[in-house]
Amino acid sequence: MQARRDQDFFWEGIDRGELLVQTCDACDTIRHPPQPRCAACGSDAWRAEPLSGEGTILAFLESVHPSRRDEEPRCVCLVELPEGIRMVSSLLDPENAANGAAVRFEITEYDGQKLPLVRTAGGGQ
C-alpha cells in the first residue's frame, strides 16, 4: 500500500473547493503546513476543519526574472489568516497589492492545477 502523505487532505480539499486546516484532536491547536504530529502537544490525532477563506497580506513580491518553470511573473504573497496561521499564495489582482490589504481565497486553476489563490476585497470579479 502506498503511504498516505500528510498533506493529501489539503489538496483533496482544494479539489473539492474547500480550504482546510489540520486541527489537533488532543489540544485543538491548528497547524500549517501539515505535519504528522502536533508540535504543541505531540499528538498524532487530528481532523481537517474548514477555514474562513479570509486573510490579510503581510508581504508581497513580484517575481520579475523569467525562469523556465515560472515564466509568467507572479505576485506572490504571504497571507495572515484570522484563524492564526499563514499561507503563501498568489494574488489574482496584483494591481491592488498592498500590505494589510484584505484578501479572500479563491480556488483557481493555474497552469493546469487547482490552487488556493487570493483576490483583494476591492478586487471584484
Partner: protein, 389 residues
Amino acid sequence: MSALTKIAEGQTAITGIGQTAYTKESGRTVMSLCAEASMKAIEDAGLERGDIDGLISFTMDTNSDHDLQSAIGLPLVRWTAKAPFGGEGAYATFQLAAAAIESGQASNVLIFRAFNERSEARFGQPNFNPKAMPRDYHRSLGLVTPGQVYAMWHKPFLDARGMTSEDLGLLVVQMRAWAANNPDAWFYGRPITLEDHQRSRWIVKPVLRLYDFCQETDGGVAFVVSRLDQARAQGQNSGRPVVRVLGAQQAWPLGESMMYNYYKPNLTYAEDTEVVAKALWEQTGLSPAEIDVSTIYDNFSPSIPISYEGYGLCKRGEVRDAIRAGELGPGGSTPVNTNGGLIGEAYLHGLNNAAECVRQMRGTSANQIEDAKIALCAGRQCGMVLARE
C-alpha cells in the same frame, strides 16, 4: 528546558586554511577543486596527510568523504559528520569538529566544501516542473528559486526597519568596496556606486536586484581544526599567530526555518540568530562591542542587516542607520565581510567568509583591520568566534 551548554570550550584552533581560485568556469572536476583546497589546508597547517583523521562538510556538498579520502590519500579516517542544511549550517562544522577533538574522537579534522556551481550544476536555478510533481505550498504558489523563497521573509524585516532597495544598495556598495581591494574576489577591482546598484535589474521586486545576489562560484575551500596545545606548539615554532576557536554554536528554535521561514511568530527579527549570539557571548565571555571584525553569511544582501542586528552589532531597529553611516564598509566602526563576502568574493556557502576571519586573525587579509584580535563568523542559525593569540 535545560540551559545551553558550553559545547566548545575553546580548546581547539584553526591551524590550516586552503582555497582554490574562485572562477566561473574551473574546467576541472569538483573533486579536483576539493582536493586542491584540502591539500593546501593540510600544508598550511604544517601537517602531513596521515595527521588528518576526521572529515566534515555540510549538506548539499557533492563531495563524499570517502572520495576525498581517496583523492588525497588519507591513510585512516576515524571520524566523519555532516552538519545540517546548506550555508546556514556552514559554521556548525567548526562546532562539531571542536566537539570531536575535545572528546578525543579525532585529532585533526579537515573541513571541506567545493563546487562547480556556475559551470556545472548551477545553484539557485528553478528545477521545479509543476506538472511532474505533487502540488506544494510554496513552489506551486510561485516561490521556486532561492531568491524568491528568501525575499518573502526578508520583506517583513525590511518593511519593519523602513529599509528600501536604496538602503540595500548602500550596503552592497560597502561590500563591493571590500571586494574591490581583494585580489581573490570575483569583483576585485570593480567597486560600484549606489547608482550602479539601482540600475542592476530586478530579479524579485521590490527586494532583490541582481547585485543583491551572491556569486555563483566554481571553487573550493578547506580548513584544518586541531587541538589548541598542538597549535600553540606549532605557533611557537613558526612565529605565526594561533587562531583559537573561542566559541561555536547552532540554534534552531521551533518554527524557524532555513528557507521557508514564514511561519515563526515574529517575522521582524531573527530569533534563531539571537539565540546563537547569546550562547556565543556566554561561551566566550565577550560582548558585541569587543568584536574587531565580522563576516556575515550573505547569500542575499538582506541577510546582512538581519544577522547584524541578531548578533547585537547594533540595537534592534538601528541597522538602517548603521548602513547609511557606512559602518560596515572600509573605515566603518563594525567592518563586515572584509573579503567582499559571498556577494563580492565568492559563494562557497559561507566557508570563504570563515577563511577571511582566519586571515584577519593572522594579520594577512587584503583588507586587514589593524590590531584585530577577535573575529565573529556569523551565520543566521550558526556562528563562531575566533581569537588571535
